[in-house]
């Protein structure tokens, strides 16, 4: 072969190399990069459906419209009527910042999109004008939600109010919040804010539970303790050189399980922990959905009970809700609910039904049993102790005028130098209508002083509204 032909073939090979490089490049792009760039807000494909479909409304349980879309000359505009009150639940739907909350998890329903299929697409092409999305009806009560939002005010924290038997969430507030209507203007501030206003503390916030965890330790104790031996509290206990104190160093003397819970005795509960061991404690905690993901319409964090507890001091601390135990407020509202509901924990729901623009129901969400936490007898026993907590123990501020409430306070030490104030409970005690979980983050006060009064007002108001 002459030089000319050799050179021509070399050029052919390099050109083929370029083409094959192009094939590899495109395949690589498709496999590794494509998914990532598709969600870019400049990709109008994401929005093309939304321009042609009037996005559905989000409505509370009584029919109050919380969010709707209106057609303006510039296209659709999403109208968040109550701004901050629902920021974490409803979330936002923004071209710049994407979607969150119900706007994200029920996007398809709000747009009345079935899963993408060619036939449906063809129907969209053929039909004229904007079609209508479906409406999402929440289990929330607008009056109660607004009340809870106001009550929490500027305090950092969270409130969850739910029906212990059906799992319906009546109210869920997280503070600080943001206003989805002015997201564009305030995005920089929201992102820069060190208190993370975008975080839905009710379901994504993980807190040390403190003494409210004693309900779980108590459950484990009732189920697993062989003797009814009393505990002796001298105000502090030395576990392998680690000193665990009671609040204020008060010595409670000799007490049984009931008295220990009512007085929220750390010494007694850490003794229980040491007595029954971490496996049994973990087992009970996991029945209460610790280390389990809670199925919910919004993304939830998992409450954690550590996989292995290596030292006795850690076990003692865990039994009183300190150590490495972390919980979400929603999970703690479910703990209270389960005790109020004879030991049966139900799946929390926040969306009641999907209706179309003619108000006919397309889908209804029903109550489901999530976990059988304990026997009805044990639940009854726990309830009686919780009643005493409210009547004469640490939770006196949660006492209602005419209705018997049940509850447990918590004052949780954490990385900040101020404790979290907790209260979980339910009312009326004999046949509960509502369960609540209240946490005031880094409050510095006890659960009984700070969280219990809020819980009292919430339970009062909730029962009033529900009995209307």
């Amino acid at each position: 072969m002459n030089t000319e032909s050799k050179r021509i073939i070399r050029i052919l090979i390099s050109l083929c190399g370029l083409f094959i490089g192009l094939v590899i490049y495109i395949s690589y792009f498709q496999i590794f990069t494509a998914d990532r760039i598709l969600s870019n807000s400049y990709n109008k494909r994401q929005w093309i459906d939304e321009e042609n479909i009037l996005r559905g409304e989000i409505i509370d349980r009584k029919g109050t419209i919380l969010v709707n879309s209106i057609i303006t000359d510039k296209g659709q505009s999403r109208n968040y009527k109550y701004g901050n009150v629902y920021s974490h639940i409803i979330g936002y739907s923004s071209r710049e910042y994407g979607k969150s909350g119900i706007e994200a998890s029920y996007n398809k329903e709000l747009l009345n999109l079935s899963d993408l299929n060619p036939l449906g697409e063809l129907k969209n092409i053929l039909s004229d004008g904007p079609s209508l999305g479906n409406n999402v009806v929440l289990t929330l009560d607008h009056e109660l939600q607004s009340y809870a939002y106001k009550l929490l005010g500027n305090r950092k924290g969270s409130i969850v109010i739910m029906n212990p038997k059906t799992g319906e969430i009546y109210s869920m507030v997280s503070s600080p919040s943001f206003n989805p209507s002015t997201l564009k203007e305030n995005w920089g501030d929201i992102i820069a804010n060190e208190n993370s206003p975008l975080l839905n503390r009710s379901i994504m916030g993980l807190y040390a539970p403190g003494s409210i965890f004693k309900l779980i330790t108590a459950t484990a104790a009732i189920e697993n303790r062989e003797s009814d031996d009393k505990f002796n509290c001298e105000g502090s206990i030395n576990i392998d050189g680690y000193v665990l104190k009671d609040y204020g160093g008060v010595a409670h003397g000799e007490l049984d399980l009931n008295e220990a819970l009512v007085k929220s005795c750390n010494v007694a509960f850490s003794q229980i922990g040491l007595e029954i061991g971490d496996d049994k404690l973990r087992n009970t905690a996991e029945k209460y959905m610790f280390n389990r993901s809670i199925p919910f319409d919004l993304r939830t964090a998992e409450s954690t009970f550590p996989d292995n507890i290596r030292s006795k001091p850690e076990l003692g601390a865990s039994a009183i809700g300190q150590g490495k135990i972390l919980v979400t407020p929603l999970n703690m509202a479910m703990v209270a609910s389960a005790i109020g509901n004879q030991g049966e924990m139900v799946k929390p729901i926040i969306v009641r039904e999907i209706i179309n623009h003619n108000n006919s129901v397309l889908k209804k969400y029903k109550t489901e049993l999530l976990s059988k936490v304990t026997s009805p007898e044990t639940a009854e026993y726990l309830k009686s102790m919780m009643i005493e907590v409210v009547n004469e123990g640490t939770g006196k501020s949660a006492r209602l005028d005419k209705i018997q409430a049940a509850g447990k306070t918590g004052t949780a030490e954490n990385e900040s130098d101020k404790e979290h104030a907790w209260f979980i409970g339910f009312a009326p005690a004999d046949d509960p209508l509502v369960a609540v979980a209240v946490i005031i983050e880094s409050s510095g006060k006890t659960g009984g002083a700070e969280a219990a009064p809020i819980a009292r007002d919430l339970m009062n108001r909730a029962i009033q509204i529900l009995n209307k």
Binding site: I11, L22, T33, Y42, N43, R45, L122
Partner: protein, 419 residues
């Protein structure tokens, strides 16, 4: 003939089936039935079928390149019609014109002799066209490379591409004659850079790059003075770096290539929209009519490949790349088998023109290399591009044939002289 038509296994049969299926789909795509689409379907299938039959009667050369090109044309017309029926209709007309030009170019080149003796003529026409563009040119997509004649716009660079290949071939065929004068090599290189310079002034960077690659390839194969290769490569590097710092439009191209995401709404808009289209198609595509390729500006033109990837899938995109690869392979084979040196160089030049042009735009719209606006041969919408590509294809078809003895004699004589 009908029997032959129905043979599915023959490439023509496959092409026919693809065309009928796609065109049927397009008929249902628009709600109102248009007479146009029926016309397009019949005209397209008839033209492809008839022209390939005629070609095999008159030419004993390559039987693949024309088929591959009609496949590319079909994919292009289907996509253009789906994006914009009016343009699709026009493209079918241009395709008809292209076929006529293909045969005209085939016969003209075949029956007129001495194409290798017209170097000054080619250079003169090119220069005249460049100057005409400079004076009468209108701006389009940031490049001033169109002139309007009798109400229809025309891109002179498309014609100059073919003339350029003829000039290169004429120079190397007669290099003894030209090189007898001391400075002729300098003049030759100056002429090449005047071409590239004019294109640069028009801001037609894609075509400038194409000319440079063509020149370098021919230089690599035929230039005896190997130092020239080195000088030109070094010169190109210096010029590109200088271009980057001196000219804003060059800088913008590079910056939007390196990171288009910083200015998606502005300079990076086109390329990012193209990437969104390719990404949303996946390997199998959304299906014709179910994607949104119209979000890309100039989608029917430079960005037709992104639309193909979105609606027909990346696998179809890869198939298009392989079709170009086969054209390049067949073209190089034609060049290697051609005994006449002038047509050997011309065949190589035309093949490389198709190959490089395809790579420049395919690499550009996928962000593999910086994006420079240039058409995808036979697929993009555009009369000038289609007609000039068909003219070039006609020449390549001719070059695939064995020539008469007289020319071969001449050629052998020359080879002996070379040695």
């Amino acid at each position: 003939m009908t029997k032959k038509l129905l043979v599915v296994r023959s490439p023509q049969g496959l092409l026919l089936i693809i065309n009928i299926l796609a065109l049927l789909l397009l008929m249902t795509f628009n709600i109102e039935f248009e007479k146009n689409i029926l016309f397009i379907a019949i005209a397209l299938i008839f033209t492809i079928f008839l022209s390939s039959q005629v070609l095999y009667k008159i030419s004993n050369g390559d039987t693949y390149i024309f088929l591959i090109v009609t496949m590319l044309i079909s994919i292009g017309i289907i996509m253009i019609y789906r994006i914009n029926p009016a343009l699709g209709f026009k493209q079918v007309i241009w395709f008809g014109v292209g076929i006529i030009v293909f045969f005209i170019s085939y016969f003209t080149i075949k029956y007129i002799k001495h194409w290798d003796k017209l170097l000054y003529f080619y250079l003169g026409i090119s220069l005249a066209l460049f100057i005409a563009t400079l004076i009468f040119g209108t701006k389009n997509k940031g490049a001033t490379n169109w002139i309007i004649i009798f109400g229809s716009s025309f891109q002179p660079a498309e014609l100059i591409k073919v003339l350029f290949i003829f000039s290169l071939a004429s120079y190397y065929v007669n290099k003894e004659k030209y090189n007898s004068w001391k400075y002729s090599r300098l003049i030759y290189i100056a002429a090449v850079y005047i071409h590239i310079g004019f294109l640069f002034i028009q801001k037609d960077l894609g075509t400038a790059m194409l000319f440079f690659l063509l020149f370098m390839s021919i230089l690599y194969v035929y230039e005896e003075d190997r130092r020239l290769l080195l000088y030109n490569s070094a010169g190109a590097v210096v010029l590109s770096v200088a271009g980057y710092f001196l000219f804003n439009h060059v800088r913008v191209r590079i910056e939007t290539w390196l990171n288009p995401w910083t200015d998606i709404g502005g300079k990076g808009y086109q390329i990012t929209q193209s990437l969104f289209a390719i990404a949303s198609g996946g390997f199998f595509g959304t299906g014709i009519g179910l994607g949104h390729p119209a979000f890309i500006p100039e989608v029917h033109n430079d960005f037709i490949f992104s639309a193909i990837c979105e609606e027909m899938g990346v696998l179809t995109g890869i198939a298009v790349i392989f079709l170009f690869m086969i054209i390049v392979y067949r073209g190089v084979k034609i060049a290697l088998q051609q005994q006449n040196q002038f047509f050997r160089i011309v065949a190589l030049g035309i093949t490389l023109m198709f190959g490089y042009q395809a790579f420049i735009i395919l690499g550009g719209v996928t962000k593999m290399i910086p994006l420079t606006g240039i058409t995808l041969p036979f697929v993009s919408y555009g009369g000038s591009s289609l007609v000039s590509s068909f003219a070039a294809l006609g020449i390549l078809q001719l070059a695939s044939e064995e020539f008469d003895v007289e020319q071969e004699d001449e050629d052998e004589h020359r080879i002996q002289e070379d040695n």
